[in-house]
Amino acid sequence: MRKMILSLLILAISISLYSQVGINTRTPFSKSVFHIDAKGNNTSEYTVTTAQQLDDVLIDMSGALGLGVVSPTAKLHIFTTGSTTKPIRIADGSEGVNKYLFSDVDGRATWKDKPVPNGVVYYSRSPKTYAKNVYTELPAEVNAPGYKRITIPRAGNYVFTLRWWGSISGLPIGTKLMSAATIQLRKVTGTFESVVDETTNYVAATGTNYSRFSFTMSLFASNLAAGDVLYLAIKPIDGYAWATGLGLSGSQLTNTIYYPSIMVYNI
């Protein structure tokens, strides 16, 4: 008898069921493993009408969850047609009118505004030296008044295209060189900076009076939030310093076409 009580006590603490479970129903659906009939209105374990299913929660033998449907055809199958109940509500603080459900890299979801293509070109027009083997910030002077860095207007994934125009400083006349620089896209969060994307660009240059050369290259940042602040930094690694403004005079000195510019747009 003592053994019996012990046995019952153990079972009272933790009950495992190796069987089909039906809750609030005497006729759990034949193909279910777990079936809640919230209104208790099902009458057969084989035939369930659409109206009878609307209040049912069910897990089938493949582990699919049906809400309002007893034969789910997807891992989560929700059926509310003909009912006043809406299918899904996700309240995580981001919800709002006309929002879209967005994924992150892991497939987790949140609400965001409808994607709106937008783009800005940040120009510069001040001579600057880019010392060799050191990262120097590329200015974004025009279109960012009072603030030289790039501020993201809307959440999204963005391309940052650098359109370089400048000189290799001190390259001997006639020397052919594969100019090279590593470009970093950096995100600023308070006093912390992270490198979001990085690449190195190689392009042929030849020593002339001002050894001018140009190239175009893009960097990419995903999942930026509105208000995020970023900038591009460039580090010449071809043995020479780079410079902008060399040999310019008069109105050329402030003409944005003779300086690097940065195009920023969401994709």
Partner: protein, 252 residues
């Protein structure tokens, strides 16, 4: 011994039917089926109801509410304190900026809208020397040698490639290569959906960079886009720097 058999027979029937409300880990329940996952509803914790899972009397499933859940506002009603904390769906199409899209039957998938996202892939192969006038299909960090199309539309492929240039004969110094996108089938006798030839000035044994774009119009769901690079000029051999060779893919 007979008693034990009777007991076990009662506890392990093939069918367990309960024509009543069921609660787990709590005695103070609501609805038809109530789980207090952390068994903390009798405490004063402000978070005590957030671990509760409830099926209400209309069959709605309620998760994560901060007050005692009674009636769901939708068939599946999920509340979370943090964005990305409520719902997760992994179908292979997930990614930063992907959007939940539906088909005619209501099946959902993650897909790309114009302006919604796009993504970056590293090129992982070919890693060996690429011979002149030979086509090489790129392998990508996704583990595939193509880009799968999940949503019908038009797409841009942006390529930034750095490779070491070698002149295998003659003086060289100037060379070109083809960049081609094929849809579903690589037919080297064609120029695919879109193609460019890029010339560059190079120094044998040193690196050079190509930055170019390809477009695919009106791709269908299920299409596969193959990217092919072919050093074109004779006696012109490339070896990719895979750390600096990247593909961006987005919808337009």
């Amino acid at each position: 011994m007979k008693k034990y058999i009777v007991l076990w027979g009662l506890l392990f029937p093939s069918l367990f039917v309960c024509f009543a409300q069921v609660s787990i880990n709590t005695q103070n329940s609501q609805g038809i089926f109530y789980i207090d996952a952390a068994a903390d509803n009798t405490t004063t914790s402000v978070n005590r109801f957030k671990n509760d899972v409830v099926v209400d009397e209309a069959g709605s499933l309620i998760l994560g509410q901060s007050t005692q859940p009674t009636v769901g506002k939708a068939k599946l009603d999920i509340t979370s304190d943090t964005p990305y904390g409520a719902f997760k769906m992994v179908d292979g199409g997930e990614g930063d900026g992907m959007v939940l899209l539906g088909d005619a039957s209501g099946y959902a998938k993650w897909g790309m809208l114009k302006g919604s996202g796009g993504y970056k892939l590293r090129v992982t192969a070919p890693t060996g020397a690429m011979a002149s006038q030979t086509a090489y299909t790129l392998s990508l960090s996704s583990g595939l040698n193509y880009i799968p199309i999940s949503v019908a539309g038009s797409y841009i492929i942006m390529i930034r490639m750095t490779a070491t240039y070698r002149v295998t004969s003659g003086t060289g110094g100037r060379a070109s290569g083809y960049f081609i996108v094929y849809k579903n089938t690589i037919n080297a006798s064609t120029l695919g959906e879109d193609s460019t030839e890029n010339y560059f000035a190079g120094i044998s044994g040193q690196k050079f960079t190509v930055y170019t774009f390809l477009k695919v119009l009106n791709a269908s769901a299920g299409d596969k886009l193959y990217l092919v690079i072919k050093p074109q000029t004779a006696n012109n051999q490339w070896t990719l720097d895979t750390a600096l060779t990247t593909v961006f893919f987005y919808r337009v």
